[in-house]
């Protein structure tokens, strides 16, 4: 019950006028980012970090996390109305969502998605409220070996189980790690891999890398394929038919649980949750043939799952300081910019901060519900902005955003370079998410490994001798064996690994 009183206290600081305004701004940008092609949540949050420099840390993180969970709602609208997913977690919604729209039931699809998203999101935040402190308590017992193995587990889950090819996943991951080494080594002060460039002394800025690899590369990839705009379907009637209420709410329930659980796994992403929810719904259905022809459960389940996921995936960030996806990694970067270290200590050292953020997520989800139920039609109009008008302006915004981090044109040049690298990585199916995540975790991985080895008397074997790190190490090895085996057998189930959220 202690959580409840802390949460109420959090509402006090979240309900100030400034914080409410920035929460609404955050979720609105999230909606935009979800709807607009070529701008995903990673670039969206990364671009706004410099803007938050002058803000209170609480306000800054409230806005940035608003972008993150808001984008999950926005992506649905374009999936349903024009059959173009705004972000990857809504890809699966296109199937039945757009069919419903063709039958004149776009309103129902959007209504159900909004209600499901709201329930999924709120349950995930409730999970954060009650599980967060417990996990943080558990996390205080973590030493360098535990952190090292946990990070390794997350990265192996990402490259080992979800990519198209293990080799490509590992290359992408190690590439990110190697890039993170550039600059001054925090432990020894040694200058590494700067090739005599002054600008590289401080390392590559994470935001530069993220905007380049995700934002610019996306715009370059779109350059070849002109986007055809479908005329959006009309929205009328937001609620399902009487006989659909029961199956819909069952789907929402299942989606919530599934998304929440998958969200807790480091390295998993929201698209996996929505994909798995879709196949679960299809399996549970009495008449699976309805799926693909406008089954309401095919919208309710996945849309709920991806929102439950995005909320749940903040739990490892808040309690252990570990990001499980690139967008969360950007938010982690914002924590650090504002002088906060996410991790188990945060709940005890900055409870006001943490609880205000959690409270703001309740508020944000309510705002999003309003945005998406009565105002869905307004947002749909945004999807009509022609892409050829949008992309030059997006490029310009990326340039400005990158420039403002350090007031340096060198950074903008680096961003363009990473844009080109990201473009080719997309072409050849290298998971960009793996590069970005390892880049963020690089320094921590190195320090925790060196520290573990320093206290160890028997080298790497030490990792197996402690109960928590031992279990995690065994899991790592299992995942590695499993993925090598499936690679050799060529039986890899293709799960999209390269998604932003």
């Amino acid at each position: 019950m202690e959580s409840l009183s802390l949460l109420l206290h959090g509402f006090e600081s979240a309900l100030t006028l400034t914080n409410i305004i920035y929460c609404v701004i955050g979720v609105s940008i999230g909606m935009l980012v979800g709807i607009l092609p070529g701008l995903g949540p990673v670039s969206g949050t990364a671009l706004l970090i410099p803007v938050t420099f002058g803000m209170e840390p609480v306000t800054a993180i409230i806005m940035l996390s608003g972008i993150y969970y808001g984008s999950m709602y926005g992506g649905t609208i374009t999936s349903v109305l024009i059959n173009t997913p705004g972000e990857s977690a809504s890809v699966i919604t296109c199937i039945d969502g757009h069919q419903l729209a063709k039958q004149g039931r776009a309103g129902t699809a959007l209504g159900v998605a909004a209600i499901g998203s709201f329930i999924g999101g709120i349950v995930a935040v409730l999970g954060l409220t009650f599980l967060g402190p417990v996990l943080a308590e558990f996390g205080t017992r973590f030493g360098p070996p535990e952190y090292f193995t946990l990070m390794l587990l997350g990265l192996l889950t990402l490259v080992g189980l979800m990519g198209k090819s293990l080799v490509r996943g590992l290359i992408a991951a190690i590439f990110g790690l190697t890039l993170s080494l550039i600059g001054m080594d925090p432990a020894s002060g040694a200058i590494r891999f700067t090739f005599g460039q002054q600008e590289l002394l401080g390392g590559i800025d994470f935001t530069v890398l993220a905007i380049g690899l995700f934002g610019i590369s996306e715009i370059l990839s779109n350059a070849g394929n002109p986007t055809n705009m479908e005329k959006p379907a009309k929205i009328q009637g937001l609620f399902p038919k009487k006989e659909e209420w029961l199956p819909t709410s069952m789907s929402i329930g299942r989606g919530t649980i599934l998304g929440f659980l998958i969200g807790l796994i480091p390295g998993s992403n929201a698209a996996i949750s929505s994909l798995m929810s879709y196949s679960l719904e299809k399996k549970r259905a009495k008449d699976p043939s309805r799926f693909g022809k406008g089954a309401i459960e095919g919208v309710a389940g996945p849309e709920t799952a991806n929102n439950a996921h995005s909320g749940a995936s903040l739990i490892p960030l808040f309690t252990l300081g570990l990001p499980s996806s690139p967008t969360i990694a950007v938010i982690l970067g914002a924590f650090i910019v504002h002088g906060l270290t996410p991790g188990p200590a945060l709940f005890t050292s900055n409870p006001d901060f943490i609880w205000a953020i959690i409270a703001s997520m309740f508020i944000g989800n309510v705002v999003l519900l309003i945005f998406n139920l009565p105002l869905a039609g307004v947002w749909a109009k945004v999807a009509l902005i022609p892409y050829q008008l949008l992309f030059p302006i997006l490029l310009l915004v990326c340039c400005v955003g990158t420039y403002t981090i350090n007031n340096s044109l060198w950074d903008v040049g680096m961003m363009v370079l990473f844009g080109v690298i990201g473009y080719f990585m997309k072409k050849f199916d290298f998971p960009i998410a793996a590069t970005v995540l390892t880049f963020v975790l690089g320094a921590q991985l190195e320090t925790s490994l060196i520290q573990s080895l320093a206290i160890s008397e028997n080298g790497l074997l030490f990792l197996f001798l402690r109960p928590i790190s031992g279990t995690l190490s065994v899991l790592c090895i299992l995942i590695l064996i499993l993925s090598i085996f499936s690679a050799l057998k060529k039986k890899r189930a293709y799960l999209a690994s390269d998604v932003e959220v």
Binding site: A187, R192, V397, C399, L449
Partner: protein, 150 residues
């Protein structure tokens, strides 16, 4: 003549990158005050990357299946080169001309094929001024400006 698959070239790029980093890591000290030094992690990482790049090049070289996505050609290549060139030129001129003027030219160039010139000028000038207003005035971040302050 049998041409190399595009993936092989990309793998080669990774290989060169990792070899450069591997050689560089050898110059850093492998051990340090607490046991292991700044050279330890990079050496192992770049070493693994060398091996993985070789694996990738080998499998791509051997694979019979045609590339699912070939290298960009035709209009796609032209578009991409045009975007990249515009960005690089933009980077070059922005310290001289300032944000508003260079952004206007940048947008005008990229919108040239889609809109008639008078509409285009309107959009480019309007969007540049709007972005300048938002970033420099409302959010008060520093932008590269010319000697007149815009």
């Amino acid at each position: 003549m049998k041409t190399w698959k595009a993936g092989v070239w990309f793998g080669l790029a990774f290989l060169i990158f990792s070899i450069i980093f591997f050689i560089q890591s050898l110059t850093l000290s492998y051990s340090g005050a607490d046991g292991l030094g700044p050279g330890f992690f990079p050496l192992w990482l770049s070493g693994m990357l060398v091996i993985l790049s070789l694996c990738y090049i080998y499998t791509t070289f051997k694979s019979e299946e045609s590339e699912s996505e070939p290298m960009p050609r035709g209009t796609e290549l032209k578009n991409i080169v045009f975007i990249l060139a515009s960005m690089l030129i933009y980077l070059g001129v922005v310290p001289l001309l300032g944000f508003v003027l260079s952004s206007t030219i940048f947008l005008f160039a990229l919108l040239f094929r889609y809109y008639r010139w008078h509409l285009n000028i309107g959009i480019s000038v309007g969007a540049s001024l709007f972005l300048f207003w938002i970033f420099a005035k409302v959010l008060s971040v520093t932008l590269p400006v010319n000697e007149f302050g815009w």
